[in-house]
């Protein structure tokens, strides 16, 4: 369907994602829509998400690369910058998008966000509050959620 008219840039990016994947990240296009990617990110080591496998979906809009890809966590995650619907608060996905960024760089940024939660720019108020008032407890919750929702399966 829409795949017949795929821009060269998307094809190129896809080929590179498949042939030389970034460590801890896998992204593969859906068979019926080449603009839709199934993504898996491994929880970074030394983070509350270590050991978890997080599923995301990534969609390249018509205007890509002039517009940012749309990315969402499918796996439940306890993180101040990610809400319960899996939406991500990350500047490069919004106003700081640049066409010089790619799928790979976006996913790496998300991975980095897992390593370094930023409760000062929260998407999920409650979690951010939790993080700020009692970080140790919040981190525990995050680990708990990782175990509950992101372990294998």
């Amino acid at each position: 369907m829409a795949n017949s008219n795929l821009p060269r840039r998307i094809i190129k990016e896809t080929q590179r994602l498949l042939s030389e994947p970034a460590p801890g990240i896998s992204a593969s296009p859906s068979e019926d829509n080449m603009r839709y990617f199934n993504v898996m990110i491994l929880g970074p080591t030394q983070s509350p998400y270590e050991g978890g496998v997080f599923k995301l979906e990534l969609f390249l809009p018509e205007e890509y690369p002039m517009a940012a890809p749309k990315v969402r966590f499918l796996t439940k995650i306890y993180h101040p910058n990610i809400d319960k619907l899996g939406r991500i608060c990350l500047d490069i996905l919004k106003d700081k998008w640049s066409p010089a960024l790619q799928i790979r760089t976006v996913l790496l940024s998300i991975q980095a966000l897992l390593s370094a939660p930023n409760p000062d720019d929260p998407l999920s108020e409650n979690i951010a509050k939790h993080w700020k008032t009692n970080e140790a407890e919040a981190v525990e919750t995050a680990k708990e959620w990782t175990r509950l929702y992101a372990s294998g399966a």
Binding site: R8, R9, K12, E13, P65, M66, K96, S98, P99, A100
Partner: protein, 1029 residues
Amino acid sequence: MGSKVNDEHVSTVRSIVGTDYTDMDIIRSLHLANNDVTAAINILFDTPSFNRKDAPQMLSNPRVPSQNSQVDNRKPVLKRDDRSTDGPHVGSFDRERASVDCREGRDSTENDWWFVGCSEVAGLSTCKGRRVKAGDTLVFTFPLKKSSSSPSPGKFGRGRNLAACSEIVRFSTKEHGEIGRIPNEWARCLLPLVRDKKVKIEGSVKFAPDKLGIMDTVLLSMSVFINISMFHKQHHTSLKATISSADETVVHPLPNLFRLLGLIPFKKAEYTPSDLHTRKRPLDMKASSGLPAPLSSVNKNNNLSRSTDEVENDVVLSDSDVDKIVGVGASPELEEMEPPCTLQCELRPYQKQALHWMVQLEKGHCMDEAATTLHPCWEAYNLADKRSLVIYLNAFTGDATTEFPSTLEMARGGILADSMGLGKTIMTLALLLTHSGRGGLPGSESTYKLASESTNVSNALEQSTCQSKEMTKFLGNNQSVVRKNLLVNGGSLIVCPLTLIGQWKAEIETHAQPGSLSIYIHYGQSRSKDAIILTQNDVVITTYGILASEFSSENAEENGGLFSVRWFRVVLDEAHTIKSVKGQISLAAAALVAERRWCLTGTPIQNSLEDIYSLLRFLRMEPWGSWAWWNRLIQKPFEEGDQRGLKLVQSILKPIMLRRTKFSTDREGRPILILPPADVQVIYCELTEAERDFYEALFKKSKVKFDKFVEQGRVLHNYASILELLLRLRQCCDHPFLVMSRGDTQDFADLDKLAKRFLKGNKDALDKEGKQIVSKAYIEGVVEELRKGEQGECPICLEAFEDAVLTPCAHRLCRECLLACWRNSNSGMCPVCRKNITRQDLITVPAESRFQIDIEKNWVESSKVTVLLHELENLQSLGLKSIVFSQWTAFLDLLQIPLSRNKIPFARLDGSLSQQQRENVIRRFSEDSDVLVLLMSLKAGGVGINLTAASNAFVMDPWWNPAVEEQAVMRIHRIGQTMSVKIKRFIVKGTVEERMEAVQARKHKLISGALTDQEVRTARIEELKMLFT
């Protein structure tokens, strides 16, 4: 009516009526009285509409009981009726009867309502059984704006919709209420006028059947009155403004009303809207005339690629095209005038004619003529009202005025449009010497006083005519009078392109008797900021650049620059410089305050008819200085292929433009200027085998790209890229090195320069923002990468770079990709580092830089260069001078190598030189007998430069438009040339150059034949395809 008013009559009338009337009034009255002095005086005294100076516009007599005024004013009316035998006229009987019929209505007339006329109108009864009798006064009801409902809309037929109802004008009597309605055509033109309170109507029943039945005819007598507010200046303008925005095809109610009233202009407009409506389609026109095509369509096309490759697409008209458009003035009849003895050179007869013509235009002699020539768009009507004799009505805009609209309302000066090489400079200098003075007297009051004092002295009359005319001009614009009073009076100002400053100065110094004219060059950073300096000299020379910059600076009037002076005369040399209507230069020129204005240009039209508009605006050739007016009457019709637009331009230009060409002849039919013959020859060169291989390789590569565009049907979208491809091919014909070094980006072709610029730019960035954006090492890496010719990929399209650019932050991207991600076309963020950058910051990366070679060391002559050298050596032995033209300065760079090696001394003139340097180069070339060759870029040699020292010209590469080549070559084939001139054009066989010749021929057709938009588009594609065969 065509009789001219002469000065003798004016002075006679003036001696009787005294100073209360302006010359314009006197001229008008004479005009109306058919030059009968007594009648004219009567008209003046009897007619309040002739304004005293204290009441320029308005009726000034106190309220007079209307019955009396009717009697009082009989005389002029009779006079007018006497005259009615010599022209089309409303019968006086009708008029008399009408005035009787309408007397009742007149009683209620106030002073500011003027009776226009009366007519019998067949109204339709809308009632049944009512009785009205002749003489019953009627009240007319006009529907309010829009959908306001009126009673009983349905009675006249079900099909009628509400919109039509809102146009119904009904009449009623006091006793019976509604009687009927007036005919639609009357209603339509009355409605808008009555709504705006510009017109009112009164009426009575003239005849009606005893008992009215529906649809019965009721004969009405309707009198129409016009409010004098219609003639207020403010109104005038506001009206014009609304009209310009409104639909152009609207029929204006007032002219229509006049027609319905049966008023017939005693003087008809030359052009009327009905002319426009009967216009022929452009197709018919093409068949029937050889007039030039709508330049505009060519223009539209230009816009496609204007930003990218302006010069290449600029359609410059050749001399003959210009002639077709503006017409060559039939000048042999012009009188000659001897220049003053302070001019130390002989003028040719045609130059003396020009001097006479210019002096006359400045004196305003022609103005008298023009003042009595009715503007071609206005009609003159006699009103039935006894107080005013005449009103003027514009058939196009519906504007009405009591002021005589003449063709030359404000102008004093004109356009000297002799083609290049006829000596416009010297003619102007003769004018400067004949009359130089200081700007007008400080206040209009004193101007006026002076004018009136001198009236009795007959020999001063001419002058006073001018001055009082000046006064009317000032009065017409009260605001500016105040402003102008602050200005200091200056002499003559000459505005010219930078290249010509030196020439003007030199011409004045050599040809004017020492001490007769003092000169001041107003140029450079150190130029005077004191208006006094500007006014102390007879002649001030400045450039368009200075003019524009002083114009845009704050308080231009007070800060002592060009705008704080009221000039005696302003001369724009190469006046087509101001052609761009919205350009600062054009606005600046138009804003100068001056009494006399001149445009010198060999090409009054360069690209489009619009060019003329700017000139007329500068010249104050009212009303053509208003865009709405110009656009409606000239531009639009012209663009639509209506010849009338063009005709109108020609009729406007005729009195104010003098144009002769080299082919013009004098009274005896001899050419006005005899130049030695010019011989144009084309030298066809063959490429050497090595060159051919290189060319073919480049051609194939380019063709593949071009074919891709054709395949995608995106030829016109990629116009710029295609021109770029062609550019390479054309340069390759000159010398393959040009392609290797990418001559057009020569500044950065040298990578060391590039690196330097980067490091410098980076330092700036550091200073400003306090943090380092890109490291020095990074930039060095990038430059090194470029130097090695490493390909890399664009971070946006992930492909190999195509037309790569470098950002100031040293990021490399495809130009297209970068521009595509910017929201606006001129600036945005660097996609890589988010630094804000603008389009100007981008640096074109030298492509194929790995071919960069040391041209000195590896010098090889191209076949063209070989032929040129051979030619130059021949000329060297004869001691003849020549000019070598190329479009590319890079090619001039290359040519310097063999010239030096062959010991041929040369000079070089291109756009990079400062004014001083240019002058030096030209002087050296003209005076130093050793310097035989001048390398010149086609563009730098564009205007005005006189290079008659050379008798040979070599045009190394063909230009798209032959007119540009022609212009350059004219630098040597002009006045002062004593030797026969040889021009040689180089064309390489079997290349794009040869095919360009064919396109040149086509291009000529494009300009001179009418092609529609679509035709032009396809023609373009065809043209491009032709080049790639």
